[in-house]
Structures are given as C-alpha cells and as structure tokens.
C-alpha cells in the first residue's frame, strides 16, 4: 500500500479532444489517499472521459495523470493492480452469473481453491445487497442490481483505489443511501480511495470530501473544493445553481 497522505491520484493539466473537438482542457487536481473524490457536471461534459483517462483506457491528448504513483500511460500495467472500476453501463459479463462475474478476477489473479473464491465472491455480493441473486445472469436482474453487482466485481480484489461511474443513478433513494454507507465503510475499514461520478446532491454531501465540477461550455473545470464550501461561497452561476437546486 502507498504511504499515507501521499496523493493517490494526480491529474495535471489533462485535456481530451476527439478529432479536433475539444471535450475539456486544463483539468488539474489531486486526490489524497483515503479520500472520497466526486466528479460532477452536466451530461456530456466529459466525466466518463476523464474517468477513462484515469484508468488508462484513453490516452490524454494533453497533460499527465498518475494513479497510485504510476503514470497511467507509461506504467498502465502497474496502475491496473491498484484499481477497481465500475463502468457506467455496469459492463457485467453476459455469459456468467453474478457470482462468476465477481469470481473472475479471483480466478485470474489468485490461486485460491474454488470454494474459497465462491465464498469471497458471495461476501462481496452480500456487501452490495445481492446475496440472494448470486446465481442469476446479468440478463435476469434489474439495472440497479447490475450496478451493484458491478461494484462488487470492482471490489473483488480489494483494490486500494476505486472508480465508480454513476453508482447510484437509477437506484431508489434507500438503496442509493446504502451504497453511500458502503463507500464510507470501506473507506473507514480499508482506507480505500474513491473517485465517484455522481449527480445526487444528497450523495455528494454524504460522501464527498472534495469534488471537481466539469462544464461543457467552459470545456474544463469550473469548481474544485469541499461541497459545502462551494454551495455557500462559489461565485460561478452554474456551480451555485447546481448546489442550491434543493439544498438539504
């Protein structure tokens, strides 16, 4: 594990364009180890794109990103040992049951006996409230269940850094709050670092230590800081509008 307080993630002037179309530019922030860091912004502003840069699926057209101390472009294999990812679409393997989905990383990267793998996978699924659904296929579960199963899979090897793309979108408030609690629990018990894309104001106030806000018109970031501070003292109209739409 990396030393305490060393930044888990450094994003340094990252920019991305697709065929000349600039999505964002000059995005810079650091995420401390053990922090829950939220990425927010309107649809299409590039949140998923930024996430894909951080997990080494997209090479930033500008700037540099390190995760767990490793450059995501040059040392991508090392970065991948440090991270777990939940994709916006869930991206569960359609031909495998939920249990097998969660077991796959254990099959690939450990020599545990089959029973132990199943045991661990079952516990991960139970953590996200899917204990009864372990033997179902992804086509047999609801969208919210798929998201939670995808989180369980991201947790399979207990990576120190977790990336969750809209974990609570499409969940009922109670299940969503349960996920928030899970994130806080994991952070408390395992010192995990989280990067979470979310729009749920409730959830942001509940879990985020800090957040960055991207904007499509501005083609970059328009706010960085603690959510409560941004709510009270930001001068940017979009930021104010977002945080004060129904202040709790």
């Amino acid at each position: 594990m990396s030393a305490a307080c060393a930044p888990a993630i450094v994003v340094d002037h990252a920019g991305q364009s697709f065929g000349g179309r600039v999505i964002f530019e000059d995005v810079s922030f650091t995420v401390a180890t053990g922090e829950v860091f939220v990425v927010l912004g309107g649809s299409g502003c590039g949140k998923s794109t930024l996430l894909k840069q951080m997990i080494g699926l997209l090479t930033p057209t500008k700037g540099r990103i390190t995760v767990g101390g490793y450059d995501v472009v040059e040392r991508v294999a090392l970065v991948r040992r440090e991270i777990g990812v939940m994709f916006q679409s869930g991206a569960l393997f359609g031909s495998m049951t939920l249990l097998e989905n969660v077991m796959l990383p254990l099959v690939m990267f450990t020599d545990l006996p089959a029973r132990a793998r199943a045991e661990i996978a079952r516990i991960k699924l139970a953590m996200v409230g899917l204990a009864e659904a372990v033997n179902l296929l992804p086509s047999e579960i609801s969208g919210g269940m798929a998201k939670r199963a995808a989180i369980a899979r991201a947790l399979a090897l207990d990576p120190p850094i977790l990336f969750l793309d809209e974990p609570s979108a499409g969940l009922d408030p109670i299940t969503g709050a349960g996920l928030d609690r899970l994130i806080l629990d994991l952070r408390a018990t395992l010192d995990c670092t989280f990067v979470v894309v979310t729009h749920e104001l409730q959830s942001i106030f509940a879990i985020a230590d800090r957040c960055v806000m991207l904007d499509r018109e501005a083609r970059g970031m328009i706010a960085l800081g603690v959510p409560r501070d941004l709510q009270q003292s930001s001068t940017h109209p979009t930021v104010r509008a977002f945080f004060n739409r129904d202040a709790p």
């Binding site: 040992r81 991206a91 006996p113 139970a126 090897l157």
Partner: protein, 362 residues
C-alpha cells in the same frame, strides 16, 4: 508481498489457529483450505489469533467468517483490531443464513494443457504471431470455456455437415456420371468424387459451414462484449482480453475443423455410394475404386488444410468482433465481415495450398 503464515497449535486441551501476514485475496491461497479444515476439526475451545495479521481486507474477513461458520463451537478472537472486527460485523449482517452460492461446475481449460502450444495472437496486419507468450499470460486462459466452444462449433454443427456432405456427394456423383457414362467410365466416378471430397471439398465445405455458423458467432459475441464495455472492463482488471477470449476460440475452431471436414468426407462418400448403387454398381466395386484412387495421405492432407482453415476463420471472426465500433449496428457488421472474410481467406489459402502441394509433389 510477504506470504501468509498459518500455525495450528494445541493449548491446554483447546486449539489455537494463528494467522500472520497480509490476509488479502492474492495472498490467502496457500492457507485457506488448511485453515478451514483446522477450524472444522477443532473441538471446544478454539482460539483464533490474528495479532500477526498486518492487513485484513474483505477477502481476509471472508476467511475469518468461513472459520467461524465451519467451527461448531465458540471462538475466542485474539488480536482482532477494531476495524477488522467492524468489517466482519458488517459482513455478518449482509450475508443471510442459508443462501449458498453454487460453485459453477464448468470445465475450464487447464493451463497445463496449453503449455505445449503457447500462442499469442496479434491482430496487427491480421497476422498470426505464434510466439511463445509470457508465462504470466497463461493464467488468462482460465477464463475461457474451451469445451463449451467446441461443443457449439463442432457437435452442434454435425447434422448440418452430414446433410450438406451427403447432398454434395450425391449431386457430384450424379452430375459426373452422365458425361462419364458416354465413355463407359462411370465406375471412375467413385474415385473422382472421393478424391475431390478428401482433398478439396471436405475442408472447403467444412470451412464454409464454420465461417457461417461459428465465425459469425465469435464476431457477434465479442462485438457485443466490446459494445457493452465488457472488454474495457477486462482490460482495466488487468486481464489480457485477447488471451482470454481469442486463444480458446481459435483453438476450438482448429480442433473442430478437421472433424467437420471428416464429417463432410464421410457423408459425401455415402451420398456418392447411394447414387452409384442406384446406377447399378455393387458396393464392393465402389469401395475398391475408392481404395485404388485415394490413399490415407489424401485424407490427412485435407485434414491438415482444415486445421489451417479453422485457425484463419477463428482468428478472423474474433478480430472482426474485437475491432467492432460502437452501437448495435457494429455487431451486425462484425458478423458480416467475419463470414465474408473467413470464406475469402479460406479460398485464398486453398489456392496457396494447391501451389505448395504441387511443388512438393504431394
């Protein structure tokens, strides 16, 4: 990373299980079974000492819970920190009683079987680089499902193969019998048809069937995985998607293809035989002709070609799938290009073989 140490000692009539080191998913493998067995066998007065455990993650907690469940009596915990205790408490709440996960009883291709032909596929220039791959990549074959692939590509194709082979054998025999009869040479139809089946038509027809049924299925399956970001998910897990998805499929196509070709051969000969018998030749004369005209190596040559065709079709199908763009239409396009590409490349390869065999005098 240091390894986990497990010690089982007896202490005043009871048992003490001590676990030290990092209790994490990647480190637990060597001790899991022994630890669970020890807990199951221990009588009353079991103590579990984790004071030497430097890190307990959810997998470690899963082991501790498994010990707790498999031991019938009470457990005295020693050196269990506050955080792991909380984690275990949370997990105990989450896991309901009586729901057990079934361990999937699927046959996974074992690494050791593959050790003999380590191939890594690269798509650059659509070439096959049969290189000895890093031993570290072998583990990615664990996720493949070779036997299911063989069943779908091979066993399930056999009725179709049999029917097509039989019909082609009949048609060829009938068509060539008419002109040959003018020269009184219609007994040679048996030789002609069986030779062309063994050397050409068996592998070719088998390849067309494989490309149509299996090449397209590979492309659609992998294309869907790309579109659903499943391949991206594999990549971010550090799993080599090409090794896990392509090599088992290519191997399955290579194993299945000779069987398909042989199926066409046999069914075709039967179809031809039927026509010949209708034309009035006794079976013994037909068999005699076949034996005189063809040797075992005509058959083997055909089967060898079939293996190569299988590799090409499997590879092209997987490539088409993995390079699919976004959106549902991409899947259909991938399937189409798998079939077209598979058939075209098969025929090109067949031409190449014709030249090579001619040069070698085979």
């Amino acid at each position: 990373m240091t390894a986990v140490q497990l010690e089982v000692a007896s202490e005043g009539g009871g048992t003490v299980i001590s676990l030290a080191g990092p209790l994490t998913a990647t480190a637990l493998a060597p001790v899991w079974t022994r630890a669970v067995d020890a807990a199951r066998r221990a009588g009353d007065g079991l103590a579990i000492d984790v004071s030497g455990a430097e890190l307990i993650d959810t997998s470690g907690a899963a082991l501790l819970l498994a010990l707790e469940r498999d031991h019938s009596g009470r457990i005295e915990w020693r050196g269990l920190g506050e955080k792991p205790a909380q984690l275990m408490a949370r997990l105990r709440l989450a896991v309901p009683e009586g729901v057990t996960a079934k361990v999937p009883a699927r046959t996974v291709a074992r690494t050791s079987v593959w050790r003999t032909f380590l191939i890594r596929v690269t798509f650059f220039g659509q070439t096959i680089l049969a290189t000895a791959s890093l031993p570290g990549k072998l583990r990615f074959l664990r996720g493949g499902n070779f036997f299911r692939l063989v069943e779908r590509a091979g066993t399930q194709a056999m009725p179709l193969v049999g029917m097509m082979g039989f019909l082609i054998g009949m048609i060829l025999a009938f068509q060539s019998a008419i002109p040959m009869r003018q020269f009184g040479a219609d007994i040679y139809v048996a030789a002609l048809v069986s030779l062309s089946l063994f050397r050409e038509l068996g592998p070719l027809l088998g390849a067309v069937i494989l490309a149509g049924r299996t090449g397209s299925a590979f492309a659609a399956e992998l294309g869907t995985m790309v579109v659903n970001e499943e391949v991206a998910a594999l990549t971010t897990m550090g799993i080599d998607a090409e090794t896990m998805l392509v090599i088992p499929r290519m191997a399955a196509a290579m194993v299945v293809m000779p069987a398909l070709a042989l199926g066409v051969d046999i069914a075709g000969v039967l179809g031809m035989g039927l026509v010949m018998m209708i034309l009035g030749f006794p079976p013994s004369a037909i068999l005699n002709q076949i034996q005189m005209a063809t040797g075992p190596y005509d058959l083997l040559l055909g089967l060898f070609k079939a293996v190569v065709f299988g590799a090409a079709i499997g590879l092209i199908g997987c490539r088409a799938g993995l390079t699919a763009g976004g959106g549902p239409r991409a899947v259909g396009e991938a399937a189409t290009s798998a079939v077209v590409g598979g058939i075209v490349v098969t025929i090109l390869l067949d031409g190449l073989f014709a030249v090579i065999f001619y040069r070698l005098g085979l």
